[in-house]
């Protein structure tokens, strides 16, 4: 509804106007001189505060979302605001920690940004509000003027300078009075029209902490060995930071991020063979594979639990999730033992040595002195061709092993593409990522649903006797839905694969190679 009928007539009562102003730092409260000329009635002042929430690495802010909570248990009001969309409020019993603590629509929106990452306080937003009713000659309120003083206190930093805003809020049917008042306020000293209708406290917070493991800045002429060492350092930092998060076991995303860091490092060590001496590289790759294999089963259980918590019938599936949480706790206990074991410590020590090594050290391989762009080009093209050939060969309903192989090849290609950051034009790289992303995503869904289906088949015999009939039925329905989701992804796969196999996609990769300085032989 746009509020007008077909013949243009208004089909709704006019919404009251709102206009917001920001007081300049030097202007302070000088605007109140304009207020004195008006017939007003002061209302009781109001003070309020809310806690701003985000994941430690700022995933919500990165996704354009803002989450805050005010009040205390058992009545915590959470406000979720999106970029350019109206905010929604939800009442919860406690301060939320995860996406699934919210009702379904908000849970899905948050899960898209957070996945299984938890949220924590990142700051506090305090509001002191003074309000005046603007009266006409009958003492009828024709508008409201709010003076809002916002203070934002980041958790680990000093409070930011106060922001003073003035909001003029109209009353329905008093548009003329509103316009006169707006003109008066615009003439007032020290006020300027605010760009945003609502104050966004997040904009006063510092940028999210750079997550450990941020990708290093590489240049086209970066030395290959140093580049690899810097990438390895970033991955090691990511692993170590997330290993700290794995130990309490509250936030499943730590395990995911730790695994991705290890996998990325292993993949690059395997693909960029000439940069490290074989006697250094092979044992490292073996140990990284061992650690990944230890972390894998717990991650499968984490993703299954995430699906169960966000499923439509999550309430009925709650006993299933609780039963699996017991298994999860055992798995995390095993993980902690592995992370504390000397074998893991030794691996970390060897990786540290690699990060600190120089291109002329004994760890370096025959291509260590080349430029990184030069070294990347050949494996990138080889991997691209492997993916193209495999994708052309593998049908949607092919054996799961073949689809899995294709998915792994895609991941390896992606890791090589990530290494091109800073070495090739950003737009070209973004298009190449986009081509690959669709295919990777659908292969991921196919693989996840197959793993979940297998996991459920394995766990179901032990679970069913522990479940009430409703939960058992819900579990059966969830199994069916998992298989159906996999089938739907298979149907989707063909289209995405064909999009990846287009000549345009191939041309994009060729342009990347040219940007890396490699002249491809034409066949």
């Amino acid at each position: 509804m746009d509020g007008t009928s077909a013949n243009g007539a208004a089909r709704a009562p006019a919404e009251p106007d709102v206009r917001c102003y920001e007081a300049s730092a030097e202007g302070g409260a000088r605007w109140r001189e304009a207020l004195r000329a008006l017939r007003t009635r002061a209302e009781p002042p109001l003070r309020d505060h809310e806690v701003l929430l985000d994941s430690f690495d700022g995933r919500l802010r990165a996704s354009g979302l803002g989450l805050s909570a005010r009040g205390r248990a058992p009545r915590v009001v959470c406000r979720l605001a999106g970029r350019g969309t109206a905010s929604s409020e939800v009442e919860l019993a406690t301060v939320p920690r995860f996406a699934w603590d919210f009702p379904r629509p908000q849970a899905l929106e948050l899960a898209h940004a957070l996945e299984a990452r938890g949220v924590e306080p990142i700051g506090r937003h305090e509001l002191a509000l003074e309000r005046w009713a603007v009266l006409d000659d009958q003492d009828k309120v024709v508008a409201w003027i709010d003076e809002e003083r916002h203070r934002v206190r980041p958790v680990h930093a000093r409070a930011r300078e106060d922001v003073l805003r003035v909001a003029l809020r109209g009353v329905r049917g008093y548009g003329g009075e509103f316009r006169d008042l707006a003109r008066a306020l615009e003439r007032a000293d020290g006020l300027r029209v605010a760009k945003e209708a609502h104050f966004d406290p997040l904009r006063l917070l510092a940028e999210p902490l750079v997550a450990p493991g941020a990708w290093p800045k590489l240049a086209p002429r970066s030395g290959a060995f140093r580049a690899l060492a810097r990438i390895a350092r970033a991955q090691l930092e990511a692993f170590e930071a997330n290993a700290q998060g794995i130990r309490p076991g509250a936030d499943a995303e730590h395990l995911h991020d730790a695994r991705v860091a290890l996998r990325r490092l292993r993949s690059l060590l395997g693909q960029l063979k000439g940069l490290l001496a074989a006697e250094t590289r092979l044992p490292l790759v073996d140990e990284l594979r061992w650690l990944a294999s230890v972390l894998g089963p717990a991650r499968d259980l984490d993703t299954l639990l995430l699906e169960l918590r966000l499923a439509e019938m999550s309430a009925e599936l709650r006993p299933v999730a609780e039963a699996l949480e017991q298994d999860q706790a055992l798995q995390y206990g095993e993980l902690r033992r592995t992370l504390d074991a000397s074998r893991c410590g030794e691996l970390v020590g060897r990786l540290r040595a690699l990060c600190a090594a120089r291109a002329n050290s004994e760890l370096a391989g025959p291509e260590a002195a080349f430029s990184f762009a030069q070294v990347l080009a050949r494996p990138l093209w080889r991997r691209f061709r492997q993916v193209v050939e495999a994708a052309a060969r593998v049908a949607a309903l092919g054996p799961s092993a073949e689809l899995h192989e294709l998915r792994i090849a895609c991941k390896k290609l992606r890791y090589l593409l990530e290494c091109c950051r800073g070495l090739v034009p950003r737009a070209e790289l973004a298009l190449a990522f986009a081509d690959l992303k669709g295919l990777q995503s659908v292969l991921g869904t196919i693989q996840d649903t197959r793993v979940h289906a297998e996991l459920l088949n394995t766990l179901a015999p032990a679970l069913f006797p522990r479940l009430a009939p409703e939960a058992a039925l819900a579990l059966g329905r969830f199994q069916e839905q998992t298989v159906a989701r996999g089938r739907a992804a298979c149907a989707h796969y063909v289209g995405l694969r064909d999009a990846f196999l287009t000549p345009a996609s191939r041309a994009r990769f060729e342009r990347l190679l040219r940007a890396l300085g490699r002249k491809r032989r034409t066949r």
Binding site: A9, A12, P13, A14, Q138, K140, R172, G173
Partner: protein
């Protein structure tokens, strides 16, 4: 949307006072509420300090919804809007008189308002007119303030008989005692009879009170600042009406028994005659 009309054939029974308070209480309960002042005296509008908008054109209210919406003005409370009135509202009566399908047009206007409001409170003028016929046709409930006196009861009985066809389609008729003065013997006797014979009045009663009159003089509902006394009586009345509208009253709810009401009137008439004979 639920449309509640404060009506009575008789004037000066407390319709406007009740409409103002019921509308305020409805908005305070969180409902988007519109108080439509349908009385050209404009007393409800005056109580909220609202004058008709310059764009208001009562004659075109029913045919042009742009005029309807442009005529609505906000009160001092965010959930409560007013469609104010002044003497020019007589033109609406005239428009209804000339309209070939007045009831349908009025129903369409209420339906349009119902898209934006959860509760529409109509403050009706006294008497019978094309406008009151439209209201009987389209309202969900007629809330009838009744002074516990012979004249008021007689008019209530007449109104009850008049709206019989509308009662059949589900119109609720909810009388309540208004301007009750416990010092008056007749008020006491009527209320006692009504309660004893379950005549169908709502339980809540609005006392005759200087507080209520002062609130009107201050041009602000009593329920803004007070919670006790007459303010509590209005709150109880609002709750009772809500319960009736939700069907919570069910079979137990009040149902005006006109035959018994007429018996009461006859008895009051006889008593009057006896008193007159005794004194002579």
């Amino acid at each position: 949307v639920t449309v509640v009309a404060l009506t009575h054939l008789k004037g000066g029974v407390g319709k406007t006072t009740a409409a103002v308070h019921l509308a305020h209480l409805s908005a305070r309960a969180g409902r988007r509420t519109l108080l439509w002042d349908l009385d050209p005296q404009g007393a409800a509008s005056w109580c909220f300090r609202v004058r008709p908008a310059p764009e208001a054109a009562p004659k075109r209210l029913l045919e042009d919804h742009a005029v309807l919406f442009a005529s609505i003005r906000g009160s001092d409370w965010p959930a409560l809007d007013i469609l104010p009135a002044d003497l020019s509202l007589q033109k609406l009566e005239q428009a209804l008189r000339e309209h070939p399908r007045a009831e349908e047009a009025f129903a369409a206007t209420l339906a349009e308002l119902g898209r934006h409001y959860e509760r529409v409170v109509l403050d009706c003028p006294p008497g019978l007119s094309p406008l009151s016929e439209c209201i009987f046709h389209d309202a969900h409930a007629l809330v009838v303030p009744t002074i516990p006196s012979a004249l008021s009861l007689r008019t209530l009985a007449a109104l009850h008989a008049h709206v019989k066809p509308h009662r059949r389609r589900g119109l609720l008729v909810l009388p309540f005692f208004s301007m009750v003065d416990a010092r008056k013997a007749q008020h006491r006797a009527v209320r006692a009879f009504a309660r004893a014979n379950e005549l169908g009045f709502l339980q809540a009663e609005i006392p005759l009170s200087a507080q209520v009159e002062n609130a009107a003089a201050r041009r602000q509902p009593l329920t803004v600042t007070e919670t006790k006394g007459p303010a509590a009586a209005f709150a109880a009345l609002a709750l009772e009406i809500d319960a009736q509208l939700l069907g919570r009253g069910g079979e137990e709810g009040p149902k005006l028994r006109r035959a018994r009401l007429e018996e009461l009137l006859a008895e009051m008439q006889n008593r009057g005659r006896r008193d007159a004979n005794g004194s002579s």
